[in-house]
Subunit: 654 residues, 2 copies
């Protein structure tokens, strides 16, 4: 995962033993030596086999040949192809440059599997290259600060699935996260002490480059910038004073586009930051500026009148135009969210669409390059399937010329951080982002959802060898919230609940940046795998296509969930955090009881004794499907399928 462009399966397999060593041939550079070292280390974690650092015994069994260097600063659209040949005797990896080599090494790591003969790589010939040149993951370090080690291990995981752009959202109303030496009050007053030093930024960029990943910083402006104003209130359009925002949402404060001092400040700031971040692209945000501070300022209103700027959008366009020139003068290409696209936006600006494919279509038709993020908002707890089936081009392809199509560069998964922290972010991003990475890399025709889920589960397991901590963190949190070193029954409940989707959570409770994210909703993955499997089984049962194994699993799961409540209830009240789960567990129990009843009726091809009993069950399930304790329980949807199937079956036989 992602599926390569071309795969030819051979005969036999290459056995991985402690004798394996990797020879680098052709072009060489320290980055390749480090890539080899990393490969061996990951291979050890993947297999438990120790490899001696200076193993030379069987050298040449794995030959890596790189033709030449890649660009000194990684560029959009560089050749990332590689060719991999595995036979029972040897592995050969060739690539035009280190980017392809690194991708090929990751493919080898993915191919390793345990077999009756030991760890092995199936004989195979792969010719591979990406479909899109821009395959990104955005992490929002603004709303919650994400510690550096967490960022670094996510870069490791990005490398594993061949993502090549790390878009780093570094400033927000809730925090300014980079050390500025020119304007030190940015971090001193705007970060609660939680920011990355310039040394750490440099280290991260090096680390990313070592993994074939570009780092693009985003400094969001003119809105989403409250944290800047704590130290530099004159940048703002209002009177202040400003404080670091602790709540979530869209807020009024915005930079003042009418003062020359704003641009003088930004010019110096860009000078510092464009030097710190070597990538050719520079993200200026531009989203969700509500203009209220502008509307409230007579001075700004006068300026708009004078400059014939008819509304806030026009004023923002004026601002963006000025900012774009400042950034361009530093030899950078500006990237921004949909809102930066205005009638006279310069043609080299790259549009990142959070609003939808329509604005991407619009941009492409007008000659702009763009990338899609709408549909890849991994913070919204949608299913991996939903993200997977969104294509950056898809059905708008027909409406575009070949050239316009080529202007759609790819996409980015976006990890907004209202409801994530360094502790839990891994499980919010992974393994689901592997499915999105496949969308960006593999052919558009690769769309088999069941295959995706199967492979994603294996990828999730592989990512543990890269330090991604999903299951460990979840287990730790369950123990923590219950005070029980072995919370068996809580684990059962955890396996069938998931967070509410989209923006529902923020509406349910009053969350701030200081709210502990230590509840069950934070410990479980965005999509309940057990709930999903149960739902599929119920659909097969309802459709009369279930196997005996399906019937058996549905039955034993429903019994487990029914009986679990009795084990769980006595302990839930002992912890402030688990108290709220009392009704959730009861709801799961009742749903399971209904499910068992429906299953029995279906098995005996009988209908509900009375229609009203069925109606009552459906009414209960409709309620049970609503969020409780900021959680969706995923037993009810499957059971509903069973109860409705019973109705259909009954309808037929009556």
């Amino acid at each position: 995962m992602p599926v390569p462009a071309s795969v030819t399966v051979g005969t036999g397999q290459y056995l991985v033993t402690g004798q394996l060593s990797v020879t680098l041939a052709g072009y060489s550079e320290p980055r390749l030596v480090r890539a080899r070292e990393r490969f061996m280390q990951t291979l050890t974690r993947e297999t438990g086999i120790p490899f001696l650092p200076d193993a030379s015994a069987n050298s040449g069994s794995f030959e890596v040949k790189t033709a030449g260097p890649s660009a000194a600063i990684q560029e959009l659209g560089e050749d990332e192809s590689y060719r991999l040949e595995v036979t029972p005797q040897a592995i050969h990896l060739t690539a035009p440059n280190p980017l392809g080599t690194m991708h090929g090494l990751q493919t080898v790591l993915q191919l390793v599997q345990i077999t009756p003969q030991g760890f092995a790589i199936p004989a195979v010939t792969i010719n591979d290259k990406p479909r899109f040149a821009w395959r990104g993951l955005m992490i929002d370090s603004g709303r919650h600060f994400i510690p550096l080690p967490v960022i670094l291990r996510n870069l490791d995981a990005m490398e594993a699935v061949k993502l090549n752009v790390f878009h780093w959202h570094l400033s927000e109303d809730q925090g300014f996260r980079v050390e500025s030496k020119v304007f030190p009050l940015l971090q001193k007053k705007g970060s609660d002490g939680l920011f990355y030093t310039q040394e750490e930024i440099k280290r991260t960029i090096e680390y990313a480059r070592d993994r074939g990943i570009r780092v693009i910083p985003e400094f969001d402006m003119p809105g989403h910038a409250m944290a800047w104003f704590v130290g530099y209130p004159n940048l703002a359009s209002g009177k202040g004073p400003y404080e670091i925002e602790r709540h979530w949402g869209v807020f009024d404060p915005a930079m003042d586009p009418t003062r020359e001092s704003t641009y003088q400040f930004l010019d110096k700031f860009f000078g510092e930051m464009t030097a710190l971040f070597p990538d050719h692209y520079f993200h200026i945000g531009g989203d969700e500026c509500n203009g209220k501070e502008w509307d409230a300022s007579p001075r700004i209103q006068a300026f708009m009148k004078e400059h014939k700027l008819k509304d806030d959008a026009a004023l923002q366009a004026y601002f963006t135009g000025r900012v774009q020139k400042l950034v361009s003068s530093r030899h950078k290409i500006v990237e921004g969210w949909d809102e930066v696209l205005q009638p006279d936006t310069p043609k080299d600006v790259v549009i990142q669409s959070w609003r939808g494919r329509d604005s991407l279509l619009d941009a492409a038709k007008r000659g702009y390059r763009g990338l899609l993020s709408n549909g890849y908002y991994i913070d919204l707890n949608q299913s991996a399937e939903q993200h997977y089936l969104v294509d950056p081009i898809g059905d708008i392809g027909d409406k575009l010329t070949a050239e316009q199509k080529a202007s759609i560069l790819g996409g980015e998964a976006t990890m907004w951080a209202e409801f994530t922290t360094g502790e839990i972010i891994d499980s919010r991003i992974w393994p689901r982002t592997a499915a999105i990475a496949e969308r960006y890399w593999s052919a558009e025709s690769v769309r088999d959802v069941e295959s995706m889920y199967r492979r994603m589960a294996i990828t999730g397991q592989k990512l543990e060898a890269y330090g991604i901590t999903n299951s460990a963190t979840s287990e730790h949190m369950l123990e923590r919230m219950s005070g029980d070193p072995n919370p068996v029954a809580l684990r059962v409940l955890a396996s069938v609940v998931q967070p509410p989707k989209e923006y529902a959570r923020g509406d349910m409770r009053d969350y701030t940046s200081q709210t502990p994210l230590n509840h069950l909703v934070d410990a479980v993955s965005p999509e309940s795998e057990t709930g999903r499997e149960f739902g599929l089984i119920c659909e097969r049962i309802a459709a009369g296509k279930a196997s005996p194994e399906d019937w058996h699993r549905a039955h034993s799961w429903l019994e487990l969930w029914r009986d679990n409540d009795a084990h769980l209830q006595p302990m839930l009240g002992r912890s402030e955090i688990t108290q709220e789960l009392i009704p959730v567990s009861a709801s799961v129990k009742q749903s399971a009881e209904i499910g068992l009843r429906a299953l029995d009726l279906l098995q005996q091809a009988q209908t509900f004794p009375t229609a009203s009993a069925q109606t009552a069950d459906l009414a209960f399930l409709a309620e049970a499907k609503k969020p409780q304790a900021v959680l969706l329980q995923m037993v009810a949807p499957g059971v509903e399928t069973l109860v409705k199937a019973e109705k259909l079956a009954g309808g037929g036989s009556q």
Copy 2:
């Protein structure tokens, strides 16, 4: 854990909220500021509550007052006491020096628990200090190299349970693990590239000092030193050539005690290493030199004759005497294993007893200071109970004067590394070493085994917040060996097996340092908690003292184990690593069947239908208790208790 010297329970509890902040009063130094920072970070991991770095809102709610500094280089026997007062309103911690302060902070972290009101610390007054001044953990980095991050997180865990000596076994036949600048071939030829740089050593010592832990290096000589001879063959008594040893055991090569060049080398070496390691104590090993190289060398034999050294022990005593002088001249006190104790050993040498309490008694009577490691060999997979009940003084106390008693400084848990790697060492050391730490810190009368197991489980959970990875690593390994992202049935088997005890494993297969430690025996903890609990339940049933809950658990566990084999068998053959588990799983199944039968008979107060049926069952169980696939299955012992109980019951009713 460890239980404090004096505890007075108060009324109510102190609620931990995001407002908590810690004020340092009295004496201050950077180490205390870092200790506070670490405290806040651990508290966040323990609770999920974010604390702002510059929180000043509710400052003073936790006041820490340190009277004065501790020694510049931490000394044996420094005051480590502290006083902690928790009321619902505030926390007060006072200590004479930072060592006590750090211990007190760890006690606070241990007291935090989840309650119906939230995370809280019960109101309490504690006056605490250790029973023994020397509370150590030895890690053998020689046999398997243990990466630095693993060492560091084990120092974190040591701090958590108030251990204060990290004894670092740094050279072995299988590897020399420290960078020497004076004799660089030591690591260049003797380590496979796996060694700690001097910078890393310094960092580790600083890290340990920050946690109130002394670091004592051990360079084992004259035996266990083959890795030295690869680069410096003239140090050895034989002709060589020497290679890094790949096997485990006691080998013949030994340093040459007869050449002056040996002492010249060691003098320079000690010069470098005593400067690198600031602790006042320096460990020279001295164990298990078999003298065979000496016996085989006419030159050495002639030397012995000339110097009237009647046997190898006398020659080693001569060597130790010379070495001791060299070390003493660097103002260090020598520590060594039992063997260094000879008739004329200088009185300040500290004896670390691996052989037993008798040699400790002998040493104490002769005026030597000593510490106990026999009984604390955590690599031997004995039960935590066994280690816990070994006291450094215990029954030899009666045979000693008060002064002699005081010469027993404490003890050290020893983690020898034949069967451990950086990946799995956490689970070999923790949480069992917490029980040993309690032995060293708490009163001799603290010996309630069930209380120890209960608290040890909670401590194990707490240690996750310190980065200890037991359950995560075990889960990762089960997935890896099975290739299954959710190996449910393998987990069930894993919960009832444990490694064979003492030195049995090495006799079962031909292990070398290159053998992958990636089998089930490596993934499970040294003591099966489920097996232990099941055994206790069976004993209660056999004794007629079981509760209905006991009967229920025994029954449902036995059913689970009986049925598990059918789920597990189809997958075991798919992996080279799990193939060997086929008979183990079958043996668990059969044992469970016997157990269920016995349980039924006991429940109905009936005897076996025929005596021969019972005899056959006992014969099967006797076989089932033997190691298979380098594993003990822990269902059979409990079932045996049931079957024998059935016999007794039968005997009574016939």
